[in-house]
Amino acid sequence: MTSKIDTTGIRIGMWLFLYSEIILFGGLFVLYAVYFHNHAQYFAEGGKELNRVIGALNTIVLLVSSFTVAASITAIQREKKGQAIGLLLFSLFCGVIFLVNKYFEWGAKIHHDIYPNSATLQDGAPGLNIFFGLYYVITGLHGLHVIIGMVLLSISLAMILRNRITAARFSMLENSGLYWHLVDLIWIFVFPLFYLVL
């Protein structure tokens, strides 16, 4: 007797985990909302320090990678293994570009003496200190999620190569994809809140 695989159950489990992630970032957004209310002009000042071009570029990179991950699931469902592999490799490449951009962005901030406990922030207005504190915590936690997402996508890629993920059984790829889209979802809110505040 073969045991039946409950694919819906597998997805429900992943969604339950994603809910906890949503609440985790939701808590940080509550902090943002409250401090934004208290220090609106400093948040605007801090936001102008951030590079909108890099922020917009990273948004596009993540959106495109989300598309390629979703397309890789379509490819697997259609039994196009080669296409799925290519799409996943491209998604991983997008993840690398995102992190490299983040590296240069954080590097430039740290070079300008803007980092937690730096002299500029310690002696400056409390509003600015809070803004950049939230910036480092939220983008840092988001960056960590990008790395975890890339690990999950790499595992899925390896499983496709070994024929462990096929049109008949692709829950691992589906759940890795859901995680990757969550990373994209969070960035969709991080981008206007930090880079585009006026």
Partner: protein, 95 residues
């Protein structure tokens, strides 16, 4: 035995259309940020972000084609989040 469920397959074209809309909305939110709307800047930016999030959820994450369990539990999470953010902010704003 027949298969219990047949997963919904989204074509490349449909997915590309969603990506196109997402990129247009990204351009829009950047463009709007240069226009000074006073109080309305934040609500407009968040509305566009919510619209983008909905597109990602419905199509990339297949929420549109999910069963009742995932759909309603997701809506409950969003409601919980709204209560959490709303009530906290309410408390702070009118203290």
């Amino acid at each position: 035995m027949e298969k219990a469920e047949k997963p919904h397959v989204l074509g490349y074209g449909q997915l590309a259309l969603v990506l196109g809309l997402l990129l247009i909305l990204t351009g829009l939110t950047v463009a709007v940020s240069y226009v000074h709307l006073g109080f309305w800047n934040v609500p407009v930016a968040l509305s566009i972000a919510s619209l983008k999030a909905s597109l990602v959820l419905l199509f990339f994450m297949h929420l549109k084609y999910e069963g009742r369990v995932i759909r309603y539990s997701f809506i409950s999470t969003v409601l919980f989040l709204a209560v959490m953010i709303g009530f906290t902010f309410w408390d702070v704003a009118f203290r």
